[in-house]
Symmetry: C2
Subunit: 138 residues, 2 copies
DNA sequence: CTTGACCCTCTAGCGACTACAGGGTGCATA
DNA sequence: TATGCACCCTGTAGTCGCTAGAGGGTCAAG
């Protein structure tokens, strides 16, 4: 008899919220576990490993569908590693795109803020920079 | 009589989707405009200015609630510019946090990918790096 | 008079959870 | 034995900022 885990213990062990675990079950990332007499979920150590995998992949920013694909791949250990590499590389490129976008945004936002040197809203360069042509004042 | 705009013209002029404009109206970012006999929305040039402002702020990544605050501020032009500056600076710090988080993630993800040098999933370092201790194989 | 582009409202869906509400279970303590 | 409390259950609705679709009405051109 292997030791069993309540959902709370599993949550604590993996740094996941209880509701999140139930949600992963609902969307099919983890299988519905056995139940105790009192209808409590009873997890096995294997579930802990799988959930850790999911959390780690999520922490690295993989979307759920990519996590699902990685889980499927890791289940069939005879397969070629190339698909795994492709998924991860694709994700890396997505992260790079996000960083580039945010960096450009940061530059522009920073320029807008630097233009402000106090005064009233009517003179404010930030507001001015946001509205191209406000016909009421200005 | 000022010239009026249909929602489609307004959308085109501001680079917004029609549905988005209706949604902005629903959440109170723009006031419900007058209607034509056929129940079409009839916008005025002032609406165009306001929507341009909203779009520009959104493009800079301001969340809706901050856009709302900026709009309120820009409506009262006698007020001190400091609040505007505070909102923008706060948002800039949020953007910086996001960039820092993504950059850290990128570093880690990149390291994981570099460790892969082909072979089967069983030998894959990417999968290995994701799962800390899979008791089935390894 | 018909076609087609536009407009209307209302509802549901996206991703990835999070937060209740309204109950049941299990264990320790008085 | 009773009671309290921490934990668990299901189900639903909310988050953010839209987006997509169903099922219809309106308007101008040909």
């Amino acid at each position: 008899m292997v030791e069993k885990l309540t959902i709370g213990k599993l949550a604590e062990a993996t740094g996941t919220k209880v509701e999140t675990i139930r949600w992963y079950e609902k969307v099919g990332l983890i299988a519905p576990p056995a139940r105790t007499g009192g209808n409590y979920r009873a997890y096995l150590p294997g579930d802990l490993a799988r959930l850790s995998f999911i959390r780690r992949a999520r922490d690295l920013g993989f979307p759920i569908e990519q996590v699902r694909a990685l889980l499927d791949l890791s289940d069939d250990r005879t397969r070629d590693c190339a698909t795994v590499d492709r998924i991860a590389t694709e994700h890396l490129r997505e992260v790079d795109r996000k960083i580039a976008g945010l960096t450009a945004l940061r530059r522009e936002l920073s320029a807008v803020i630097l233009s402000c040197d106090g005064g009233t809203v009517a003179q404010c360069r930030i507001i001015e920079a946001l509205g191209p042509a406000d016909p009421i004042a200005c």
